[in-house]
């Protein structure tokens, strides 16, 4: 009887789906399956980007015997890309603020930070489109040489990841605005945040290895 009352009180306080590591979850690991799945996905995504970065490093200065044209490294605009990198880095801050906001049940703040993160991500993508357009005008297309193919594949895949992140952020904003996502499901925002931070750390590696290291 006492147990039943305690369970009811617990459900009133946290809701049936609000669990964290301090509670025993009905899973084998004691962790939520959604979060474990996201971390497993991020671990596997490391392999994708590891392969793409490796390929670029091996091809960065090679144009091949039958092709010619500039390499991407010849056309880099480091000051411009630095600003883009800074924008993406700061979007990680706004993302984590969105997570802490929903955990405190500050829904208006959460919506604001979600939109800000999506906007910063959009600025980064706009910068990437501008950069790619500039490269194309300078004669560097996807098939110009091996170096350009490796560069566009790597940065393009990262851009697709960021774009998907923006779609997820806007979806979260819609759900929060409609009241379909409340503090009891804060972990959903946290999981989207993990994905967003991941695209940020991938760019940290790309920016250093591809753009800055000569």
């Amino acid at each position: 009887m006492a147990d039943t009352a305690e369970a009811e009180t617990s459900e009133l306080a946290y809701g049936p789906t609000d669990w964290d590591d301090h509670h025993h979850l009905p899973t084998n690991t004691g962790l939520t399956n959604e979060k474990v799945t996201m971390w497993a996905f991020l671990g596997s995504d490391c392999l994708l980007f590891g392969a793409l970065i490796s390929t670029y490093l091996l091809c960065r200065n090679r144009v091949g015997p039958a092709t010619k044209g500039p390499t991407a490294a010849d056309l880099f605009d480091i000051p411009f890309t630095s600003v883009s990198s800074f924008v993406l880095l700061m979007s990680s801050l706004t993302m984590v603020l969105a997570v802490t906001s929903i955990q405190r049940a500050e829904m208006e703040q959460c919506k604001l930070w979600l939109l800000t993160t999506a906007a910063l991500g959009s600025i980064f993508i706009a910068g990437q489109v501008y950069e790619f357009t500039g490269f194309y005008r300078e004669g560097l297309g996807f098939t110009t040489n091996i170096s350009s193919s490796a560069f566009f594949t790597l940065t393009g895949f990262h851009g697709v990841h960021v774009s998907l992140g923006i779609v997820m952020l806007v979806t979260m904003w819609v759900l929060v605005t409609r009241g379909n996502l409340g503090p009891e499901r804060a972990e959903t925002i946290e999981i989207i945040g993990l994905y967003w931070h991941f695209v940020d750390i991938v760019w940290i590696v790309i920016f250093a290895v591809v753009y800055l290291i000569p």
């Binding site: 880095l89 931070h197 940290i204």
Partner: protein, 117 residues
Amino acid sequence: MNTATVSEDEGHQEHSEHGLSDFGYIKIAVILAILTAVEVATYFFDFGVVEIPSLLILMVVKFQIVVSYFMHLKFDSKVFSYLFVTGLILAVLVFAAMGTSMAFWQNPSGCDASTFC
């Protein structure tokens, strides 16, 4: 009702134990911004032989900070760390395997694979 309120307070305390305060996250972001500025400075100034090692160290430090604090890996279950680090190790192995194959493998015509002929 009172019990529920007390439980909510306890829940908030747990969240703060899980990570940093908002101000703490802002401090982390400022550190990341400073590290990025140092990185970019290597493009404008000649750092000589320490340029590449310092860029790699800065990259690893930034990576570690984002993963530990923004992604909460420092405060979360070790299971998540194992999953992520396994992926990272495999990615490094992929790089090592590709590097090794490109450096040592040659086709029968004598054309070095590294020239993509």
